[in-house]
Symmetry: C2
Subunit: 356 residues, 2 copies
């Protein structure tokens, strides 16, 4: 039989509480007794207080959960997600908390079970839209939650860390407007429920059900609408996933047309880098023949000379973790808006003549 606290207590000849104190409240007993208890424990192979039992009794898990819509492996593929995780882990480490990555992918039933089984004190939700099937399961856990998406319902128990997605996207688009671009394409994943790489028709960004993609497309639209470019005159390209390959594939649909756009605005750097790849293949010069913007400013963006919106994913993760682990009483501080910055590089330039 596996030894328990009781086993040790009996072996030493003290009560359970004393052994428990030896592990959890060292100042409640003499140093010698404590040492003796540890020694006996080692001898009979007692593995220390069972975490589940302790957590049950204490009512806290000592870990925070991180939820991704996309599969767990994806979290380690997307550089932005990795940075975010890094930030969360910094907070977790500082508060002596573990970090539990909860697999939400694939099977709906498995995902819900994973959420219900997660031994955590709260969730950092990274990319799970409000209407996702897991949302109910997450909420009904009744644990504190930090989201990165603004929600309509202002639930006071929901913490938030994010950026002004729409405003930032608008700034990127305004930059292109100022450069004279009028014939443009928007490139995004999660535009339509289907995971396809193709041009798609949507009546407006309001149709997009993913918060981030939707807000960014709204921002793009805002700036061009102001310049007199109607939504209907803008090509919307859907990418099956947020990857370089899908970005390149999607861009092809716009670049191989006779009336190719003078600029392509992507909702992420990864997609934008794909666009650059597609340009290179065709011998088109970024910033001269076709301007390209991204979003996030991942490390590769700098090397590629990509004009983009900079945001700090580590800070985002860190603040998320901190908010979860140490929520402020002041309601205003429970919603954090992080700054962004337009970084202009070589991938954008004046619109070529003869098109506008």
């Amino acid at each position: 039989m596996r030894p328990t606290l009781q086993t040790v207590a009996d072996a030493v000849g003290v009560s359970r509480s004393t052994v428990s104190n030896a592990y959890s409240n060292p100042d409640q007993l003499s140093a010698e007794l404590r040492e003796k208890i540890f020694e006996v424990a080692r001898k009979i192979g007692y593995p220390g207080p069972n975490p589940a039992a302790r957590s049950l009794r204490r009512g806290r898990a000592g870990a925070i959960g991180v939820l991704f819509t996309d599969s767990l492996p994806y979290a380690f593929t997307d550089p932005y997600a990795v940075q975010y995780l890094r930030g969360v882990s910094e907070a977790a480490e500082r508060y002596d908390s573990g970090l539990l990555l909860v697999p939400l992918a694939g099977d709906e039933k498995a995902g819900i079970h994973a959420v219900q089984n997660a031994a955590v004190d709260g969730f950092c939700i990274y990319c799970v839209p409000e209407w996702h099937w897991a949302t109910d399961a997450i909420r009904s856990r009744g644990l504190p939650i930090v989201t990165s998406e603004q929600h309509d319902d202002d639930r006071p128990d929901v913490l938030y860390v994010g950026i002004d997605e729409r405003g930032a996207a608008r700034a990127a688009a305004a930059h292109l407007v100022a450069l004279g671009h009028r014939q443009v394409a928007f490139l995004s994943d999660y535009v339509v429920p289907e995971r396809i790489t193709a041009p798609v028709h949507i009546a407006s960004p309001e149709e997009v059900r993913y918060y981030t993609a939707g807000e960014r497309l709204r921002g793009f639209r805002d700036a061009f609408a102001e310049a007199g470019v109607a939504w209907a005159d803008i090509t919307v390209l859907s990418a099956a996933a947020n990857s370089r390959e899908d970005g390149a594939r999607a861009a092809a649909y716009a670049l191989d047309r006779a009336d190719r756009p003078t600029a392509i605005l992507a909702v992420t750097d990864l997609l934008a880098l794909g666009v650059l790849d597609a340009l290179a293949v065709r011998g088109l010069r970024p910033g001269r023949d076709v301007s390209v913007t991204g979003f996030d400013d991942i490390p590769e963006a700098g090397a590629a000379g990509l004009t983009t919106i900079r945001q700090d994913p580590i800070e985002r993760g860190r603040r998320s973790g901190e908010l979860l682990l140490d929520p402020p009483d002041d309601p205003a501080s429970r919603r954090v808006l992080l700054p962004t910055e337009l970084v202009v590089r070589a991938s954008t330039g004046p619109a070529p003549h003869g098109w506008s």
Copy 2:
């Protein structure tokens, strides 16, 4: 008061077991009753079975722990570590298991507590040497363990996934030997207990207490010893951390000497890339003036034209996770040795004349 299983049972008018079955054994009751139970649960705000209680009762946690010597944030900085995590997460996801990252950094006491408190069914240990202070705590949990380091004691309950570190390093060094290099430097982190960036004197690789660094240095030595180059004639450079910057800094000590080596062998790509940086600053041509080898073949290595040893960290992580979650009965299969491959790129070339 927070509702419990009992609360729901009372509200519906059934026994606890029935409610429990509704959640955990759906085939033990009628679909209607099950639905009714869920409905009532929702109404009174029952968050579902408490994971701690469930885990206590069932005796399994539904998560695997991952341990890093370095701080949690570091795990997300090192590209190799990220890939490894990705692999582990693939296995976790497939087995419907969570992934708990346990913070082992900084304070010894906090780290030990973290290990003891981790609600997991086993550990994947990434870079924790056998003599690390956490080792006792980890072992005494009595849980299955997958290491990436060979241990002397052949504990049958310790699973292992790794590569032939020494043989692979030897292959890299043999490549340089064949190219005529005789005056060389080895660059490694964890050579000495102190975290310093400087040339160091160690009597032999056997002195190195970190498994990976030690084995790789041993491999380097083997090949050069065979070519008649004595250990004493080889410069050993220590890097304070496995980073590009420290690699460059350490390389400076060798490159700025009159009798600079014709080749520098680094134990990781990150360090080797730093060496390339140091060469560039000095106008030295890799593969011509100074040859450089790395280890791992991280993505950046290809772009930089770095000769290196390729290993597959995703596979390594995946196999580790699988081994932990589904250990084979056959003892032989409990130790997995993954293949490696010497990838020759532009950073190595014949030794310049006049030196050898």
